[in-house]
Subunit: 234 residues, 2 copies
DNA sequence: AGTGTAAATATACGATGTTTATTTTCACGA
DNA sequence: TCGTGAAAATAAACATCGTATATTTACACT
């Protein structure tokens, strides 16, 4: 009935507008409540029009995840590059701080990445992995830099098993030239940070009051003590 | 039209049967895909009949979460009590092992507890907290036992802020008589374990191959070294 | 034996993702 | 300038979901 609106009366890039509206919706109601019809309603569009830009809802979710990973990675890259390359502890601390701050500023995006956002959705690794590897690669780069100058503590670390080597090649296709040891250490560090942050965001931490800031700082200090040398003589 | 079936022809306790069917459904399709109508279909029931046992879907989800927490807590309690009370390291290691094993055996339950299972659902803390506190309390009890015999390392731990004390009282109403320091140390330990386990379950760990077992063991050893003394002279 | 209550069904409503068919708009070549 | 064809939007429909309402059935108790 009603005619199609003129091109200059609507958003130039509707594909981008859909994502932005989706982010608004996610920020308000959370990732699992994402609704194509609600997005269309806000854009004064009918729901099937979205299918001209995304084949289905999963594709939109994938695009959102990739965008979130990109923003997440940008924040960490900026934090790392604010410190000199030789200042490994400074870079590490900055990354850890940026990690938590980004997560607290965008909890829905964090849960979109690491949670189970949508029923039946499984992230297509071939599309998501590069963006995720870029974000994770920031930490890996610092660990690897420490290892190269002999400032990575690996005494008690479990030996790298042969199976890890084949997996490492897949990583190198995206993430860089870190070796298996640096990658494993980075995973352990990442898991510690992710554990605290995800529990904090989920709101299921037991009542320890306002001490979360201090606990997070303590964990960052623990990581630095355990895995890094301040010089290469100790 | 069709008459109501005889009582002895159907499940004695339909309330329990609904939960069991829900678990089946969750195990197959994941927590976010939980559907009341699908449950009813499997039970050869109409969907509104469920409302005689649960006021809405959120109530069912809450019941499932409480059941999951109970099972999770049982596993850790059994693991702890398999070691003598004075064997703190043994108990700690057993709890950590049981934690991961339970999560790997029931990944959907783990994600139901710690993820965002259902759009718009927020866990009612007054109902869920006791069950969650019981599961978390197992770790707390071991940490507190170590503290009481002077085997908890607290040198570098951040001081407990005054705000934590008021929050502690709320914990004591459910969890026991641990003090604020033990509670905070337990949170840090929990976060480390949760971080690795949740990343492993989500399948978003970078390709480090089969080394996850070794990394987990390494982290448990790290926890023991950092927070516990083998005797009270060191 | 009759009656009231509890539990199930039947039906319906609004919302969702998605498909199909139809209409409208725009860009481009004759 | 005028068609023409492709692109993009709408319209309508379908199956599914959670849930509310009204109705019917079965059982327990007096």
């Amino acid at each position: 009935m009603s005619p199609r609106p003129r091109k200059d009366e609507r958003s130039i890039n509707l594909q981008q507008a859909i994502k932005e509206t989706a982010w608004q919706y996610i920020a308000e109601y959370g990732a699992p409540a994402l609704s194509l019809r609600a997005i269309a309603r806000r854009l004064k569009i009918t729901a099937p029009a979205i299918y001209n830009y995304y084949p289905d809802r999963d594709a939109l979710v994938t695009a959102l995840i990739i965008d979130a990973y990109t923003s997440f990675g940008d924040a960490q890259i900026a934090a790392r590059d604010a410190f000199a390359e030789h200042d490994i502890i400074g870079q590490l601390h900055a990354i850890g701080h940026a990690y938590r701050q980004w997560a607290l500023a965008h909890p829905q995006r964090y849960q979109l990445i690491f949670g189970t956002p949508v029923p039946g959705y499984v992230a297509p690794m071939d599309q998501v992995f590069p963006a995720g590897a870029r974000a994770f690669g920031v930490l890996v780069s610092v660990v690897e830099a420490a290892r190269r100058v002999g400032r990575l503590r690996t005494d008690l670390f479990p030996p790298i098993t042969p199976g890890d080597e084949t997996a490492l090649e897949e990583w190198r296709r995206f993430g860089g030239d870190a070796d298996a040891l640096s990658l494993s250490v980075a995973v352990v560090i990442w898991a510690r940070v992710h554990g605290l942050v995800s529990l904090e965001i989920s709101g299921i931490l037991p009542p320890i009051g306002a001490g979360i800031d201090a606990l997070y700082e303590y964990e960052m200090a623990s990581i630095e003590r355990q895995f890094f040398r301040t010089n290469n003589h100790d």
